[in-house]
């Protein structure tokens, strides 16, 4: 973490000082700690994306291609015709301000252009100027702004200060979804070669090797086998973790961080233990070794290009259906985009749990089930032998990840599991959970080290709610079902509430799961001593967020 970062107490002194003359004149300052590095040209070249070049947002000259204004305006016209959401959201905002203080970045930074309404106005002003009669005639009186380099720089800064979490859309009386507007703005900027490194590098890695981190097939196998070894040390049981196995019943796809980062890794151990214990006939895939899809943070086309691997691999391996791991944005893609983009998956069958016989009719078209849906069904049907007291050293709370909450409605399944495997569970205040949950502050490709100040600011509302349950109930573990959360809530907690650690739900399942023939468990999946069932401070497994960043 950057040493220059202010102390939490100072950062919490959020100032709101809107410029008295308003926002129509574009101004933006790329202040250290609040923006992301530009995409490197090699990644754009690998993906055949336009105008690769070496540049940084702090450069005066962004080396924009000739006629860039026209490229963007043409792109805008196309998208207005392709997306009703974009067209309607450009037209019907009344600027009532209900969304203004619902954005975690606005709450944490006080920057008035981080109010969702104003973020959208940055784009809407150009829309009014070039696409509406009033704007063409009245110009700035009608709220129109000409597209200039200044405006473009503002777009870059503020549309990469939106995590597409959709919290504002819950409060908007017209359902205007800033995520939708941010996605459009980012697509427009892509047209002239403007994107960020932390999105484009994982994209090109994932395109080539199948996962964000660029892990090649043998490295993938090593990681899984290492986990199998580790699980054996803890439980005394050697589990089977097949990779690229043709004819398996189920293809399992998890976010790559699960097998490469901490604390994700403990969730992986949980998956492995669970699948072994229920005798699941499944396989991993090295080709589709990434559940996440940074295409969601880039463009619809990139979503499709990467997501295609899931169905293609399911077909090649001849599985019956697909099971998906703990990941947030991955599940927005699977739930709201995959079937449309790469379906119909008519070569697969309606998912049916081979253990309980439950048919997952709600996934009868996409053919993909969320692991918490799968496990909740197992527990409900008494198929698991659980000892929740093995999690007694944890006092847990649950962070609803933005996408499963607001783009699916996956709210009760994770809670049901947690309550079955943990004796101590405490909810955060109601305005900060479920559909009103607060973002980790680092989603949508913004979880970089160089953006650390903005991340700590954006994560403040979430961290503060954790602080509340920590103070009230001595909570020491923040559970979540999202790989980005696991990576970014950890430094967020370290900064705001250092007493609280971060974990996944299947880590808790793995701890509580009594496996047939297991040895007396003296440690939990983190290797922490269970003998006194007290909370140990040391976490032996390595792999910090920074290391992951370095690898991606």
């Amino acid at each position: 973490m950057s040493e220059k970062l202010k102390k939490p107490q100072e950062l919490a002194q959020v100032e709101f000082k809107p410029a008295p003359q308003g926002w129509m004149d574009p101004t933006v300052e790329f202040r250290k700690g609040t923006w992301n590095y530009a995409a490197v040209p090699e990644t754009l070249e690998y993906l055949d994306l336009p105008y690769p070049r070496k540049w940084q947002p702090t450069d005066d000259d962004w080396q924009l291609p000739d006629g860039w204004e026209q490229i963007i305006l043409t792109g805008m016209r196309e998208r207005l015709k392709k997306y009703r959401s974009f067209q309607v959201f450009m037209d019907c905002c009344v600027r009532c301000g209900a969304c203004a203080d619902k954005c975690h970045y606005f709450i944490g930074s006080g920057d008035p252009k981080n109010m969702p309404v104003l973020r959208a106005e940055l784009l809407r002003s150009v829309y009014r100027n070039d696409f509406t009669t009033a704007g063409k005639i009245l110009g700035s009186i009608a709220g129109g702004r000409k597209l200039t380099v200044g405006v473009l720089k503002e777009w870059f800064y503020y549309f990469y200060q939106c995590t597409e979490c959709r919290r504002c859309s819950v409060f908007c009386p017209y359902g205007i979804d800033t995520a939708e507007i941010t996605m459009m703005a980012r697509e427009l900027m892509n047209l002239v070669g403007l994107s960020i490194e932390w999105i484009c590098t994982p994209l090109s890695n994932c395109f080539r090797t199948g996962n964000h981190l660029g892990i090649q097939p043998h490295g993938f196998k090593d990681s899984i086998e290492f986990a199998v070894d580790e699980l054996e040390e803890i439980t005394g049981i050697r589990v089977d973790a097949p990779i690229n196995k043709k004819g398996a019943e189920i293809l399992f796809i998890a976010p790559s961080a699960d097998y490469f980062a901490s604390p994700h890794y403990f969730t992986l151990l949980g998956y492995l233990a669970l699948f072994h214990e229920i005798g699941l006939d499944y396989t991993w895939s090295s080709y589709a070794s990434e559940g996440g899809n940074f295409g969601l943070f880039h463009s619809t086309e990139m979503i499709k290009r990467l997501n295609a691997k899931m169905y293609a691999e399911a077909k090649r391996l001849g599985v019956k259906w697909i099971l998906g791991g703990e990941c947030g944005h991955m599940w927005r893609v699977i739930h709201q985009y995959m079937n449309t983009l790469n379906g119909p998956a008519d070569f697969l069958e309606t998912p049916r749990s081979p253990i309980t016989g439950t048919t997952f009719d709600h996934a009868s078209s996409t053919k993909m089930v969320h692991i918490t849906e799968f496990t909740a069904d197992l527990i409900r049907n008494n198929k698991l032998n659980l000892d929740p007291s093995r999690n007694d050293h944890w006092r847990t709370t649950f962070h609803d990840s933005c996408n499963p909450a607001r783009a699916m409605g996956l709210l009760e399944e994770p809670r049901y599991i947690i309550k079955s495997v943990c004796n101590n569970f405490f909810e955060m205040p109601e305005n900060t959970i479920r559909e009103q949950t607060f973002c980790c502050g680092s989603g949508a490709g913004l979880g970089t080290d160089e953006n650390m100040e903005m991340r700590m600011r954006g994560g403040m509302p979430r961290a503060n709610a954790v602080q509340f349950v920590h103070d009230e109930h001595d909570v020491n573990l923040l559970l979540c079902i999202c790989a980005i959360d696991k990576a970014t809530l950890s430094p967020l907690m370290e900064y705001w509430v250092p007493e609280v650690e971060v974990g996944g739900i299947h880590e808790m399942v793995g701890n509580a799961l009594i496996m047939k023939g297991e040895k007396e468990r003296d440690v939990d999946l983190r290797g922490q001593d269970l003998s006194g069932k007290t909370h140990a401070d040391e976490s032996p497994a390595g792999g910090s967020q920074e290391e992951v960043a370095a690898n991606a």
Binding site: F16, P18, C92, I107, G143, T366
Partner: protein, 329 residues
Amino acid sequence: MRILIPLLAVVVLIAIGTVGGGGARYLFFVVLPYAGLAIFVLGIVYRVIHWARSPVPFRIPTSCGQQKSLPWIRSNNQENPHNMLGVIWRMILEVLFFRSLFRNTTTEIRQGPPRVLHNPDKWLWASSLLFHWSLLIILVRHFKYFVEPVPNWIIGLQNLDGFFQIGLPVLLLTDIVVVGALSYLVLRRLWEAKLRYISLPADYFALFLLLGITGSGIYLRYFDKSDITLAKQLGTGLLSFAPVVPEGLGATFGVHLFLVSILLAYIPLSKLVHMAGVFMSPTRNMVNNNRWERHVNPWDYPVTVHTYEEYEDEFRDVMKAAELPVEKD
């Protein structure tokens, strides 16, 4: 300037209405109302068709409640609709009762040990709801100027509106409420720093225009006490497309009618189309059934992917060395 320009615009409109109502009476009492109405109807139809012509490529409802998944988990069909019935219910609550606005909170950071507080805040919801409902009731009440005999339910509505029987003519509650709510909506834009920052001239213009209309209407009813029979003569004439301009309608009436004509024409050209837009919002009007019913994107096109074959070609050697199965040896 953002406040002054729209204020001046409305003042100018009032002046035009005053002069026009006395002079070019046929233009102001017949031609402009017809024109305003025509622009309103055609404009809204055009807008809706224009929106509808942009397809909805992806099903993107914002889910605000539990999804429908396992049978023993209670799903929330209102906040996260899993069928059309749920969508209709969600839209009814949204359109008639401003469901989403009802959730509104005000965020505050209390210092000391910093605490982010999310206090319930119903003021915006209440004032918007009161304003819109009052405006609707006032609009419906005005039908009495267009039809003869006046249907009983309109008389009933007006009697209800004047329930408290204060003054003569009887004070109508909606008249007070609409002015109160509009004033609050103006004041919060001026008072609250956030709102002041985001407000455009158009936002003030709409509010000033509506205040002009309600103000002139109230003046007509309670102070000017315009001859209702004359207004009714004009109204029924307009409605039957046989317009007559009765003598004796005053300047204030001219202002009132002119501002209404302007408002009608302004609605489809401005943010006031939100009245139609809310029905078209994909995050609210769609069923969250993505995983059991495939949504088709009409402009879907093939993209370049990295196939398994290409992947294996690049990594075959390392795959074989790691004893991972391969397609081709």
